[in-house]
């Protein structure tokens, strides 16, 4: 992948954002995560963090799903997130981008979960802010 030229604009994001919400009020809530680990990874993604209202999970271009193991103040939960990997040439001079589309939940043990945005794209309106893809209710 290469996007060094000024005219090369990639829309592809690589993080899927999970937001935590209270049920049934549908309002964002903060809680404590003891650990968050992704299957196939040697390191913890989150460790002993409080007041988190969302987490960003890196998607694996070489696979079509990731599985996250949560240990929170509410107990342990697992969610498997599926997605499609689409390769696209931006331009001949700009190289290739990897798009993650059709984000969906394949398995989960949370009380309730909902996909609110199935495409992982860069947020051009608010640079640095990642679009929320999935809402988890507890």
């Amino acid at each position: 992948m290469a996007c060094s030229e000024p005219d090369c604009v990639s829309t592809a994001g690589e993080l899927v954002k999970l937001g935590f919400y209270s049920y049934p009020k549908d309002s964002a809530r903060k809680f404590r995560i003891n650990s968050l680990e992704l299957k196939g990874s040697d390191s913890l993604l989150v460790e002993e963090s409080t007041n988190l209202s969302s987490v960003n999970l890196p998607l694996d271009p070489s696979d079509t799903s990731i599985t996250a193991y949560f240990d929170t103040e509410f107990g342990t939960d697992t969610v498997q997130i599926g997605y499609d990997v689409v390769s696209r040439i931006i331009t001949e001079n700009c190289g290739v981008e990897i798009l993650f589309t059709n984000v969906r939940t394949l398995q989960n043990t949370f009380d309730s979960i909902r996909v609110v945005n199935s495409n992982v794209l860069i947020n051009f309106k608010e640079p640095g802010v990642i679009n929320e893809n999935i809402r988890i209710y507890n």
Partner: protein, 240 residues
């Protein structure tokens, strides 16, 4: 090459045009007007030239761009029924990826000829085409990933079909006995690009061009041979 071809066509047309009035004195009956008088087959010199300029004589057997376009038309009164066929094969060797696209396409549709009474059967036409391409493509590239390990991806589409429409215009003029030349310009639109349905978003569509473009322009300069079925007799309206 395009500019010189266009000027040549204009020049030849201007030479031919006055002669039609002189030679078209004979009033013919119109009983044969819907019977085709011949078939014209040709090859596009623009795509042929692009391949040869880039790859020399090797363009016939190898090279990273090969494209051939052929056409045929038969006359039905003041209309032409056209059939075009093309082959496309290109490999993009980019520092960051290798993308290969190959396939074929056909285009069919009518032209209306505004020089119907020309005894040499020259044509100044506008027309429509329905076009369809069958093709495959693949790409291989390396990627970097901050969390997961770096890697390489190879993906391919083995069978793709795209269709679109074209508005065409151009000229065809006789230059010597059975030899004809001419050009066509075309506006291509309403394509289905297979963009959202595959692991690899197609970059190119043979016969159309850049897949994600909503519309494209095209230009061909044709060298053609005409095989007559019968003697062509332009129909001149009888004076009342």
């Amino acid at each position: 090459m395009r500019t010189s071809g266009f000027i040549t066509s204009i020049f030849l047309l201007l030479i031919v045009w006055p002669s039609q009035a002189q030679e078209a004195d004979t009033v013919k009956t119109d009983k044969l007007k819907f019977v085709p008088s011949g078939i014209r087959v040709g090859m596009d010199l623009v795509s042929f030239g692009q391949a040869v300029v880039k790859n020399g004589i090797k363009a016939f057997t190898q090279g990273d761009v090969r494209q051939w376009k052929f056409n045929a038309d038969i006359d039905i009164h003041r209309y032409f029924l056209n059939f075009e066929y093309g082959k496309f094969n290109r490999q993009w060797n980019d520092p960051y990826f290798i993308y290969i696209n190959e396939g074929s396409f056909f285009k069919v549709g009518p032209d209306i000829n505004f020089l119907q009474r020309d005894p040499d059967h020259s044509a100044l036409f506008v027309g429509l085409r329905y076009a369809q391409a069958s093709y495959s493509d693949n790409i291989v590239f390396d990627y970097t990933n901050d969390y997961w390990s770096d890697g390489a991806i190879f993906v391919e589409n083995t069978t793709l079909k795209s269709s679109w429409y074209e508005i065409t215009t151009g000229m065809k003029v006789r230059i010597y006995k059975f030899l004809w030349t001419g050009y066509s310009a075309r506006f291509k639109f309403k394509v289905n690009d297979n963009h959202a349905n595959n692991e690899l978003s197609p970059y190119w569509i043979p016969g159309y061009g850049l897949a994600e473009a909503d519309s494209r322009w095209g230009f061909e300069y044709w060298l053609m041979f005409r095989i007559p079925f019968r003697k062509y007799s332009p129909v001149i309206p009888k004076e009342k």
